[in-house]
Amino acid sequence: MNKTSPDSQVTHFLNEVTDQISYKPLHPSIRQELESHIQDRMEDYESQGLTREDAERRSLKDMGDALTIGIELNEAHKIQKSPLLLFITAFLLLTGFVFSSLVIWTPVQTVYALLYYIPGVFLLVFIVLKGYPLFIRYRKKLAIFIGVLYLIQISLFMFSLYGGRRFGIVNTSYFATLLLVPVITTLLYFFRHSKKKLLAIFVGCTYAWLPFMYTDSWFIWEIAIIIFLLSIFGTVCFMIHREIMKGRKKYLYSAALGLLLFLGSPLLLSDSGKRTVENFLFPQNSVNRTLDDTYNAILIQELLSRTPFNQGLTLAPEEMMDYGTGAWYFTRITSKKRGYDPKSVNYKVEDVTLWDILPQHYYNNYIISVFILMYGWIAGMLLIGVIVAFFFLLFTIIGRIHGHLASSLAFACGQCLLWQTVFYLLGNFGYQYSQFPNLPLISEGKLSIIFNMLLLGLIFSAYRFDHVIEEPVSYKPIIS
């Protein structure tokens, strides 16, 4: 094979082509392909009797204009951006940062807000710029690493369940469940041509899943489970629609729905599942004291119903004491049904504020309703409108991703973010399903911001590099 010297016309031609291509990691493969073509053409001309120099000149002339070729290749491989979505993301992150600093009860929590959001933004930027290419390049090592993480998580489950000691795994189990969404999506993609392997994954996951579902344990987050099930169901439907999973669509959709109902049945049929659904739909049926989550739901509904459209809620001090001690509900509404001890409070009627009476145990869980209480319904609906616009744009760019793995992964991550938001908003209007999830970008904790920035970053990164990175397992050719 003839090697091209650095000073040759071929090298100049290739340099002119690749100079137009902005994504530099593509340069070597494009150079190699074009150079191979030019060498083949030169060999043909030389076999027809031309000298090497003449063959080179004619071959380069046959190739056409290097600038045009480079521009068209750059167009075919351009990095995609979505400035509007980035702007809305930045706006929501700033809103979350400001609110985390406001809805804080102690100075220590102000510091935590700074510690969560600032690294979260750096993580988001890193994942956007490098996430998807690194995922493609190191996917096998990543698979081993994630496998080890889950082994540790399961071991902690076992020790906690049988050892009787909490290993601080409550929050990690929530994220471990949600992380299964992109993990299982990736597995489904790589094994989509093998029905036996898919069946093995399904059986393995089911047998690992069901015992946990029927264990009434304090480290099982029902909210994480329902978000997981809805996200995976949505993603599988997406993969069927895009024909990433091949087969008769009617049967595939039916199988996916059947799987959702089967795996989700404990959420409806188990005792704790039934309690959770009743508390979600009818919180007033199980309010016993002011510390109950159901009481928080009733309180928020009551306060929101009194908030005007165009300004924040204003209450008389006596009314606020009523709400703060729980007397408004327990003496006026339920006094005939049960006895009531007023909640002990450390504030007096002279200095009571709205912050004193709001659900205090989970201050970060009511960001949206607090916003409405502070500024009125119109302002609150505008904020929710921005959140809706964010998800509309997010799923629009996900829809534009061509690559099968990239689009499936992005859709899975988008679903995780979306369902967290849906259940958070429902809780903020008094319909809390089980535990509160986070509101991505706006109401975040330590682990949640890392997790949600990872999800969001992967979506942006998959879109950014969709025309640039080749997928590791390509489509099955019909002729080889």
Binding site: H37, L73, A76
Partner: protein
Amino acid sequence: MDKRYMALGTSMLVLKLLKQQSMYGYQIIRELEQQSQNVFRLQEGTLYPVLHTLEQQGAVTSFQQTSENGRLRKYYALTTDGEKMLDEKLKEWEIYQTAINQVIGGVLFE
């Protein structure tokens, strides 16, 4: 000719050739010249943006093989999505061709 139909024609010809067998870029150019008896002679470099775009659209897939002379070649193969795309492009080309024939036929008859 409308640029759009030039692009349609080029991608349609490439897909049609790949339906016969997997080929590398230079091979596609040579086949195009031979099968069209040198009527179609593309600016050879412009084939590659077409191939890369078709690959991103899922119409073709690529793989590398080392040839007998040691040269590493990138082959392209048609996918099932590519076959559907070819069918659509052939229909579109037929509509274009019919329209041209009707106009030319109209002028001649006048």
